[in-house]
Symmetry: none
Subunit: 222 residues, 4 copies
C-alpha cells in the first residue's frame, strides 16, 4: 500500500492504522496450491461456502464475491473451475441431490408420484438444493447458457425418476405409453411451479390430488 507514493499525504480517515497493527498473527491458514493440479480442499471449501451461503441468505445475497470471502478463496480460483455463477449453483445442487431418495416402488403409479413429490419437497425445504435450483431458474431468464443448462440438463434430470415411474406404470398397463412424456412434463411443471412460488410445504392434500388426477385419470363428474 505504500509503494511509489511520494506525495500520498495524511488521509482524512487514517486513524485506522493502529488497529491494523494488532493483526499480526493470521487466523486463516492460507490454503496454498498443491502443485499443478486442482486442490480438492479448495474445491470443497468453495462449494461448502456456496452451500452455506445459500442456506443462510438464499439466492439473494449469493454472489461470487461473498463465496470467495467466505471460502477464503481467490475469485479466479472460482472462475477457473466454475466459469459462471450458474455453474457454481449447479455444483451445489448436484452435491445436495446426491443424498438421494430411494425410489419408492409402491407398485402403483399414484403412490409412487405422491411419495416422490413429498420426498422432493422435503429435500428442497431442508437443504439448500431448493435455493440452488431457484437461483438457476432465475439466471436462466437472463442468460442463454443457463437456459440451455436448465432445460437440456437439469430439468431432464429432474424428470428422469418420474419418467421411470411412468415407464413402469406403462409396462403394468396403468398408462398409455404415448402419454408418459407429457405426464412427466405435467408432474415436473407442478413441482417447479410450487418451488418457484415457495409453496413446498408438506401439502399432502394437494400432492394426493395431483397424483390421483395424473395417475388414475379423472373420469367424468358423476
Amino acid at each position: 500500500m505504500e509503494q511509489n507514493e511520494p506525495f500520498r499525504s495524511a488521509n482524512v480517515s487514517d486513524t485506522v492504522q493502529i488497529e491494523e497493527m494488532t493483526l499480526s498473527e493470521d487466523p486463516r491458514p492460507r490454503r496454498a496450491s498443491i502443485g499443478a493440479r486442482r486442490n480438492p480442499a479448495a474445491e470443497a471449501a468453495i462449494v461448502a461456502a456456496a452451500r452455506d451461503l445459500l442456506g443462510e441468505v438464499g439466492f439473494a445475497g449469493f454472489s461470487i464475491d461473498a463465496v470467495a470471502r467466505r471460502a477464503g478463496a481467490g475469485k479466479p480460483t472460482i472462475y477457473r473451475w466454475w466459469p459462471s455463477r450458474t455453474d457454481l449453483l449447479v455444483a451445489v445442487y448436484e452435491r445436495e441431490r446426491a443424498a438421494r431418495l430411494a425410489e419408492p416402488e409402491t407398485g402403483a403409479l399414484k403412490g409412487d408420484l405422491a411419495a416422490h413429490a413429498r420426498a422432493l419437497f422435503s429435500a428442497w425445504r431442508e437443504t439448500p438444493a431448493g435455493h440452488a435450483l431457484r437461483g438457476i431458474v432465475a439466471e436462466a431468464q437472463g442468460a442463454e447458457p443457463a437456459l440451455v443448462l436448465l432445460w437440456g440438463h437439469l430439468l431432464p434430470a429432474l424428470a428422469r425418476p418420474i419418467r421411470a415411474m411412468l415407464g413402469d406404470a406403462a409396462r403394468r398397463g396403468e398408462v398409455d405409453p404415448a402419454d408418459t412424456e407429457m405426464l412427466a412434463e405435467l408432474v415436473s411443471g407442478f413441482l417447479l411451479r410450487r418451488l418457484l412460488t415457495g409453496q413446498i410445504d408438506d401439502d399432502r392434500a394437494a400432492i394426493e390430488r395431483m397424483s390421483r388426477i395424473l395417475a388414475t385419470g379423472r373420469g367424468r363428474a358423476k
Copy 2:
C-alpha cells in the same frame, strides 16, 4: 428466447403519442412537470422504454438506468412510481396483456384449453409480455416482495381464465368440481414451465396432448 420477431409495435391508441409528437421538432424535449400531479407523458414514455428494452435485449440488460436513459427520464421519477424493478416489469406485463384474447368458447374443455394455451404462447412470443413475466419470476427467486406479488397476484390472474373454463366444464358435467383447482394449477404449471425454458413455439402436438390428458382424462392403456 429465440423469437427474434421484434414484437408488435406501438398501438394506435397508445398514450405515447403525445411524447412522440413533441419529439418531432426537438430531439430532447425535456418533458417538464405538468404541475403537482403525475405526468402521463412521462409514465407512458417510461413504460414504453421498458417495453422496448425488454423486446430488444430481454430481461438481461433490463436495468432502471437503461430505461431512464432511453425514456429521457430521471431515475427518481421512475422510482417514485415504480419503487422496484419488479413493479416496472409488472406494469409492462399488464399493459401488454390488455390486448387480450377473446375467450374461445368452443363448447368443450379440451378445445378451450388448447386454444387458450396457443393464444398465450403466441402473445408471449410476439410481445415483451413473455420477457416481462420471465423477469418477474427471476426477481421473485431473490426478493420476497416480488414473490408475494407473483403468487398472490400474477399467477392467480394467469390462472383465472383457465379456472373459468374449468368452471364451465364442471357445470356441463365434463369435470368433477373438486378437481378444478388442481387442474388449473396443472395447466398453469405447464404454461409456466414452457415459458421459463423458452419453449413457447407453436408446438400443437404437445398442446393437444396436454389438453386431452387434462380435459378428458387419460383412460387406462388399451
Copy 3:
C-alpha cells in the same frame, strides 16, 4: 395519484394505503397566498426555517429541499425571492447581524479592535450567522455570483466598522491614513481565517496580540 392509469396494478409496496387514510385532517394550516403581493408570513417562515436548520446541522445538510420541507413552503416560492441558495444564506446572515454590537468607542484603536473581534466571535458562536457566512464562503468557491456577492458586498460590510475605527484612529494620529485599507484587510483576514477553521472560541490572548500588533505597531525586538 390515480388519474389516467387504467393498468396500474397492485404495487409491491402497496401496504401503505391503510395508514395514508388516517391522514384525513391536515395538521399544517397551509399558509395560502394573500393576493398579488409577497406574503410576509411565508418569507418569515422560510428565513426562520433556514436559520434553524443552519443552527441545528450547520451548512452540511442545508438544502433548499430541507428548508422548504421545514417551512412548509414550496420550492418555487423560495426561488422566487432568493434565486439561489447563497441568497438565502445571505438573508439569514443579515437578519442575524441586525442584532448588532454597539460600537465600542474606547478611544483607543487597540481596545476597539479587540472589543470588536470578541463581539463578532461571540455572535458567530451564538447565532447561526457564523454558519451562514461559512456557507456563503463555501459556495463562493464554486459559483461566480456567490463570489461577487462575497467580496463585493459581504466582506466590505464586514470590514466597514473596522475601517471606521481605523479612520477614527487616523484622525487621532494613531495610524497613517495610507495604511488603513490594508490594516482593515489584515483584520478581516484574521477574523475570516478563524471563522473558516472553526476557531472562534473566546481566545483573549490571541485577540489581544492581534490588536496590539496591528494597532500600535510592533517595534523591534528589545
Copy 4:
C-alpha cells in the same frame, strides 16, 4: 477565478507517461490491474484527471464521476484510495505544491514576505493548486473531517515557510519572538482571504504594503 491561462501542463517527469504510451495504439487501453497492489498508472491517471478538471472548470464541476470518466477509471478505484472528494483535492494540491518555490533569503523580513506571497499567488494562478485549496476550504465548511485536515495539516503546512522566515527575522532581532506566531497567522490570513475571494493577481502594491506593515511595524503617523 479569472485566470484562464490553462496552467502548466504535465511535467516531463510525470508518472502519467506510462499510460500515455499505451494510448498510442489503443484509444482506450483499459488499464488493468497489475496484481494485488496499487497500480501507479491508475493513481497517476486519476490525479492527473482531477488536476486537469480543476484547471478547466474549477471546483464547480469537480465531481468524482467526472474524474472517473476523464481518467478512464472506475469510481470504486477512486474511492478505494481517496475515500472522499477532499482527499483527492488534497492529493492534487500536494502534487502541485511539489514544484516548490526556492526560499527567497533576501536577508530582510519584508522582502522575504513579499517574495513569498508573490510566488504563492503566482503558483495559485498558474496551477490548479489554488482551485484545489479553495475546494478544500469549501468542503471544510460542511464536513468535519475536511475541517480537521484543513487546520491540522494544510494550513500549518502553508504557514511553515512563513514561520521559518519569521524565526530567522527574530534571530536577526527584527522581530520579537513572542510575536512570530501571530504574525504568521496574520500573513496566512492575508493569503487565504485573497485566495478565497479570487484576488490573487500580482498586486505588487498591496503585497508591498502588507509586508511593510507586518515586517517593519508601522510607526505612528507622522
